[in-house]
Symmetry: C2
Subunit: 182 residues, 2 copies
Amino acid sequence: MSVHEGRLATLVRRVEREPREPLEAALGRAVDVPSLAHVEQLETRVLRDGTLATVYLGLARPDVLAGSDRRRAATRSTADKRELVAVAQARLRAKLSYTNLGFALAPEVFTISELRDVYRAALGHDVSATNLQRVLLRRGALERVEGRRAPGRTGGRPASLFRFASQHLEVTDEFAALRPPR
Amino acid sequence: MSVHEGRLATLVRRVEREPREPLEAALGRAVDVPSLAHVEQLETRVLRDGTLATVYLGLARPDVLAGSDRRRAATRSTADKRELVAVAQARLRAKLSYTNLGFALAPEVFTISELRDVYRAALGHDVSATNLQRVLLRRGALERVEGRRAPGRTGGRPASLFRFASQHLEVTDEFAALRPPR
DNA sequence: TCAAAAGTGTTTATAATACACCCATGG
DNA sequence: CCATGGGTGTATTATAAACACTTTTGA
């Protein structure tokens, strides 16, 4: 999945796994894994056609995604695909809340408004730039970058630039509930 | 997994899946699924022997578990098994924090002290009975049951009885972070 | 000098932990 | 009557949402 024009874009790929082939090897034949910012395994299920499928979620940065992949697959979605995409979206939404996973959807450097648009698309609801900035800064997920983005024709204060402190998945918000005593 | 004598007991079972057999069918040949309080799929991975394995976590109540299963499997743990059990334990710990999953480890009716012992065993750290009670009551996960447990020989106030309000997995604690606006 | 966009300061809300203290029982 | 285990009352702390207000720019 990836964010384009303010909405979540999905692309479903399928590969047959050769006998005795590692899962990651088959995955590598379907997509260019090194170009993805994040990959994780989801569920394994028997599809309607009787085949056993292990589903993976991959996240691509908008500035990295190859042109050929930028348009959504035009093929009609099967019931299987729709279900699997829904599972993947749910996982993405959940992890955005308690991890730094935004790094995998945002460009290298961004303004808070741009980041808010990414979160809006992925979460499916409105996000406050003010609070997003403070939550992610407080958690240490974001850091400031030198320079500012010039305002557009309509004016406005130039925006500060930020980047994610880490490019790998980290849990940034331990559960408040039932945490170990000091 | 299950809790016995204040500690987490694990039992690892393995089945071959027949060609075209649904995953749940193979699972049913390995364990008595209806007797388990909760079952969920974990990861799928290639084991050291080259076979593809889809791992499930099952939780059993101490009062339901068959006698033959009460003792831990005496077979020496392989590296694979140790890894898989660790994955399962991590999943269990996480879900205990933000769901009502305790229902699957506790007996039908219990005192808060008994429940605390269960959580202690599963979480691997100390748990305050006071706070456990309040958190689970506040979340609506627990409800009071008529009657009290008589104290032991050493005295003490008789304990109130509780049960879980639901016997099915529910997320009881939405993430405070990035929640949708009203 | 005004509208737009960005950013900060401060208040409010929520939920959990910590801890002091009261309750009920057996010996 | 006191030790033991159970339970409640009440801070304190942590985290984030809400919102008023200030800053910086283009036209």
